[in-house]
């Protein structure tokens, strides 16, 4: 009777594991406990600063805050960007979020707010949050209520290797899509990989389509398409066609379809090590390039996403978003204190100096030294329009479908029309 017992147990375990897959994953939530007997409050702080120097600077800031507030303990939980998003989904489903958590605002935060999981900060942050730059606060406000406090702002643009551009004979960064494609061809002709792309992670690919849609259909169309659940307009299909033009030039590094973003063989490292001439990435790009690769130093340059000839959008309209923090509903006052500390001038100055963020406090701008970041900051302040990351601005299913179908377009399995249709279909299914 030895065998049947074994097989039965194996069968039970196997079938249980299969059915459980879903629920078991949901089960692994974090638990945070508030106060303890000796009067100290432990505040859990979830962020995505997993790369240096941010990682240690943030930890040091937490220590500094603890030193100033002996009754408060900060427990830091750091997760890599993608892992963080997945984990937060699980936590949201379980109904309990960390005390302080990273947020990009937009549709994802709104869903958490609608589920009643996020603290309304309107009154609790009133006196000091007024001093922050207005544009940086917008992604966290719904119905005039504040649900998050920003600590940086930013935009997506091309980070390029000046030396490689020079080698290929591209003297000025392109300002039109036609000029951009030409620059790509020139780089290719010199056997330089024009663009690094993290195809495995999908969101970096979405940036191209989103920017192109902004340039062809215009920012208002992106907003309207989301409301009407219809992305089949000519502008969106055209955006896909422009992206297809680029893909057809085969501008990406070898094996980009399975490349990650911040790993030693990923997108940022390829640019940071001078193996690819540019990447379309946010304001954090220089620090990740230096962390995952060697970094380019003075050879690194920035130019905004080019305008598309005949499109409705302008080159001054920016796509991006900042980082912010939100609190779970019922978070202790200590968490609000920490937000205040994190948005203070001293903290902002330190973040600007050491981690090259773009400040949300006007006063912290004077600490900026990097010419590229100054350029980005100037772009942002002069922006004539702003669009939040699509995978954050839209409901999660729609945002993911954008990422997924654009990835399919880049991999060559979906046509521009099919991309527009897939996104529309998902948007319609989502209430």
């Amino acid at each position: 009777m030895g065998d049947p017992a074994l097989s039965r147990r194996g069968f039970l375990a196997a079938s249980a594991a299969a059915g459980l897959g879903m629920t078991a994953l949901t089960g692994c939530g974090g638990d945070s406990d508030g106060g303890s007997s000796d009067g100290t409050t432990t505040v859990e702080w979830w962020n995505i600063s997993t790369t240096e120097p941010s990682k240690s600077v943030w930890a040091a800031l937490a220590k500094k805050f603890e030193a100033a507030n002996p009754k408060i303990k900060i427990k830091i939980v750091q997760l890599e960007n993608d892992a963080y998003k997945s984990k937060m989904t699980a936590l949201t489903a379980s109904g309990k979020l960390p005390d302080i958590f990273h947020t990009w605002g937009g549709g994802v935060l709104k869903q958490q707010v609608d589920a009643g999981l996020v603290e309304d900060l309107t009154d609790r942050t009133k006196p000091w949050a007024d001093g922050l730059l207005k544009v940086t606060k917008e992604p966290y406000i719904y119905d005039d209520k504040v649900y998050g406090i920003p600590f940086d702002m930013g935009m997506i643009g091309f980070w390029y290797n000046k030396k490689l551009f020079q080698q290929a004979g591209v003297s000025e960064p392109p300002t039109t899509w036609g000029g951009f494609l030409e620059a790509v061809s020139k780089l290719k002709a010199k056997n330089i990989t024009p663009i690094a792309l993290a195809g495995k992670e999908k969101w970096p690919g979405m940036y191209y389509w989103a920017y192109l849609a902004m340039r062809t259909a215009g920012i208002d169309a992106l907003q309207k398409a989301s409301e009407d659940k219809d992305f089949t307009g000519a502008g969106f299909v055209e955006a896909g066609r422009h992206l297809k033009q680029l893909v057809d030039l085969q501008p990406f590094q070898k094996g980009f379809l399975n490349a990650a973003y911040s790993t030693p063989t990923g997108q940022a490292a390829a640019v940071g090590n001078g193996k690819a001439a540019m990447e379309l990435m946010g304001q954090w790009a220089p620090s990740v390039e230096a962390d995952a690769g060697k970094g380019l130093g003075n050879d690194l340059g920035f130019f905004p996403f080019p305008a598309v000839e005949g499109g409705k959008g302008a080159i001054t309209e920016v796509f991006g978003g900042g980082g912010g923090h939100a609190l779970r509903r019922g978070a202790p006052q200590a968490a609000v204190e920490f937000l205040k500390f994190f948005a203070s001038e001293a903290t902002e100055l330190e973040l600007v100096k050491k981690t090259s963020i773009l400040p949300v406090l006007p006063n912290a701008e004077k600490a900026m030294t990097d010419p590229n970041l100054k350029l980005v900051q100037a772009q942002l302040k002069a922006a004539t329009g702003f669009q939040l990351y699509l995978d954050q601005a839209y409901a999660p299913a729609v945002g993911q479908e954008v990422n997924d179908s654009v990835a399919a377009l880049i991999a060559g399995s979906k046509s521009p029309e099919q991309v527009a249709q897939s996104i529309t279909q998902t948007a319609k299914e989502e209430q």
Binding site: S7, A14, T89, G199, K254, L257, N258, A259, G412
Partner: protein
């Protein structure tokens, strides 16, 4: 019920004269109550855990599969079997099923025979065979995540170890995009899976091989059987129960494959290495379509269940009936 019956029969008076009917019934009744209490007492903690953490969540997933549900609050938007019909219209999910079948067939056709060959080899008298056994088993002990990260580096195009090694022996032409190539990603993945899991099956077979009495092989040798005949007619039949279990574990493992794929490719490029569990994760945790994801997990469960039951009924049945024990008894 059968086991109690058997146990009673075995522990009963047997060939002795049975005691008077009334005495026997009373004694047996009390003993049965005691039996039950003991069983319940021992099983209660495990039972509570099993019901609370396995059974109820499973039933809830089954319930949620009939709703359009984002994971917040309780499911309320009943959609009938829509999730399931959508699922079988979804090219990604149909692809998952196909890839699952391919993995199962590849495992059965290549991985397990390879494991068997290694087991037979390492069952011989060989210098340092303990070292080999340990080496081959080591990958199985490694966590899936570490294996994934490791092989992402090994198969990184151009910079990876695989391409360097191929280049060093003059086979640069064989190097490629590996995981980044939609046409080769499954083959590369299968290579990693084989590396990771063949040691486990090899160990199972080794254990099975060692329980085969040496006399049988010797007898066959005396009868003039060649190496292949000895393997085919003596070793293989006696190893059959182990083989059947190993096939079972391998198939169930292929159906549930997740962590390795997630770490290495996240199902890409362009869904070409996606498995059912990965699709479930994408919908449940990236798109907040928990109802839909539950439907996927229900289908996965169904497939496992049907396979497991059919396998028990038709394949493992011989083991259950003690066919092999009879054979072993004959041998002695």
């Amino acid at each position: 019920m059968t086991s109690t019956f058997l146990a009673d029969k075995r522990s009963g008076p047997g060939t002795d004269l049975p005691p008077p009917e009334s005495v026997r019934a009373r004694g047996r009744g009390r003993r049965r109550v005691l039996h039950w209490l003991t069983a319940v007492g021992f099983q209660l903690p495990a039972l509570v855990l099993f019901i609370g953490m396995v059974l109820l969540p499973m039933l809830f997933a089954l319930y949620a599969a009939f709703f359009r549900w984002g994971g917040f609050g309780m499911p309320s938007d009943y959609v009938g079997t829509d999730n399931f019909t959508d699922l079988f219209d979804n090219p990604i999910f149909l692809g998952d099923l196909w890839r699952c079948l391919v993995l199962v067939l590849l495992s059965l056709a290549l991985q397990l025979p390879f494991a068997l060959a290694m087991a037979v080899l390492l069952n011989q008298k060989l210098r340092g065979r303990a070292v080999y056994r340990m080496l081959f088993f080591a990958p199985y002990v490694l966590s899936e995540a570490i294996t994934g990260v490791l092989f992402s580096m090994v198969f990184a195009p151009d910079d990876g170890l695989a391409d360097h090694v191929l280049g060093a022996v003059g086979l640069d032409g064989l190097g490629g995009l590996w995981f980044a190539d939609p046409s080769y990603v499954m083959a590369t993945l299968f290579l990693v899976m084989t590396w990771k899991y063949f040691g486990f099956h090899m160990m199972l077979y080794l254990a099975g091989l060692q329980s085969i009495p040496r006399e049988l092989t010797e007898a066959a040798l005396i009868d003039g059987a060649g190496a292949w005949q000895r393997f085919r007619n003596v070793t293989l039949p006696l190893l059959a129960p182990t083989l059947r279990i190993s096939v079972f574990l391998s198939v169930i493992g292929a159906i549930q494959l997740f962590d390795l794929v997630w770490v290495i490719t996240q199902g890409g490029p362009d869904h070409h290495s996606e498995t059912m569990a990965v699709t479930m994760f994408q919908y449940g945790f990236k798109r907040y379509q928990v109802g839909y994801a539950s439907a996927i997990s229900v289908v996965m469960f169904g497939i496992c269940l049907v396979f497991a039951l059919a396998y028990q009924r038709f394949v493992l049945r011989r083991d259950l009936e003690g066919a092999t024990t009879t054979m072993r008894g004959d041998g002695k």
